[in-house]
Symmetry: C2
Subunit: 171 residues, 2 copies
């Protein structure tokens, strides 16, 4: 199955992000607002226990940290994704790096730019306007993150949480 | 926020259930197929740590158990819900009971009939036909369940996993 590792921000930030996703993100109903730490990779059921054990190990060694969301940005001209920019603090970078070691596939498609997508698959004609509007809105949130989540994708495209891993927790 | 405690069956069972939910369940995009153990109750942020600690305690004392799905049934004439019937084994009943003790609200609206909803809010005119069709399909799955999940609802109605609790795990 297709798996990934994400951080879900607080309900407050999720509700805010969803106000925009509802209009601008076709994946709105498939997954809640999130920061992807390790993007989609294929796992079979046999590999799950090893990955879970590695995620426990990784999570236990990183303390809860502050997530800082500070502005609206976009991946243009690479693609028409609009997102809330998340400051790439050391904890995030370390989590990302460690999820390309051990049992994890080593493939890395993009440089790691932590973000919360709020718009995607927008038409070129509307993209500039929407980005312009959203960029004028003030987004500035800080909150503590104390867990990461292993998610998997169902046949209908929806993502489901498989397990939560507490940061800094002694399991 | 509104919280609940659920079991998510395997991806295999979820994909099967979604084949029907897609057509017959308006909540299809809001939550993945699940067995509700404790239905929606209000919690504020201050109460969360106590509930989480109680869920850890409850989960640690119940060993992983076999979930048995054996047929299609319905809550008619109470309402037009069609569901996959889940055998109410002791572990399920105990989980349900314990989530009405301690810090949990004691309110209990219905008798506990564990199930996986595959259709709801159906019109009376179509209900009988759909139930008739679905009842002829053979559903019989058994699988091990090793965790329960605390979920909360976002403003848009979608449910998100807050934390997973391993059954029988020594935390």
């Amino acid at each position: 199955m297709k798996c990934g590792v994400v951080i879900f921000p607080s309900k407050f930030v999720q509700d805010k992000a969803n106000e925009f996703r509802k209009r601008f993100d076709p994946a709105y109903t498939l997954i809640s607002p999130h920061v992807t730490i390790r993007s989609g990779f294929e796992l079979n059921d046999d590999q799950l226990p090893t990955i879970i054990s590695q995620l426990n190990e990784i999570a236990s060694k990183i303390e809860p940290f502050e997530l800082e969301i500070n502005k609206v940005s976009s991946f243009a001209p690479v693609n028409n994704v609009i997102y809330l920019k998340v400051t790439p603090v050391d904890a995030l970078k370390e989590l990302h790096e460690k999820m390309h070691t051990g049992a994890f596939p080593k493939t890395k498609e993009y440089a790691f730019v932590p973000h919360i997508t709020i718009g995607q698959q927008l038409q070129d004609a509307e993209f500039g306007d929407i980005l312009g509007q959203l960029s004028m809105i003030q987004f500035s949130y800080n909150e503590m993150i104390d867990s990461i989540k292993l998610v998997y994708q169902l046949e209908n495209g929806a993502w489901e949480v498989y397990e939560t891993f507490k940061l800094g927790a002694k399991q």
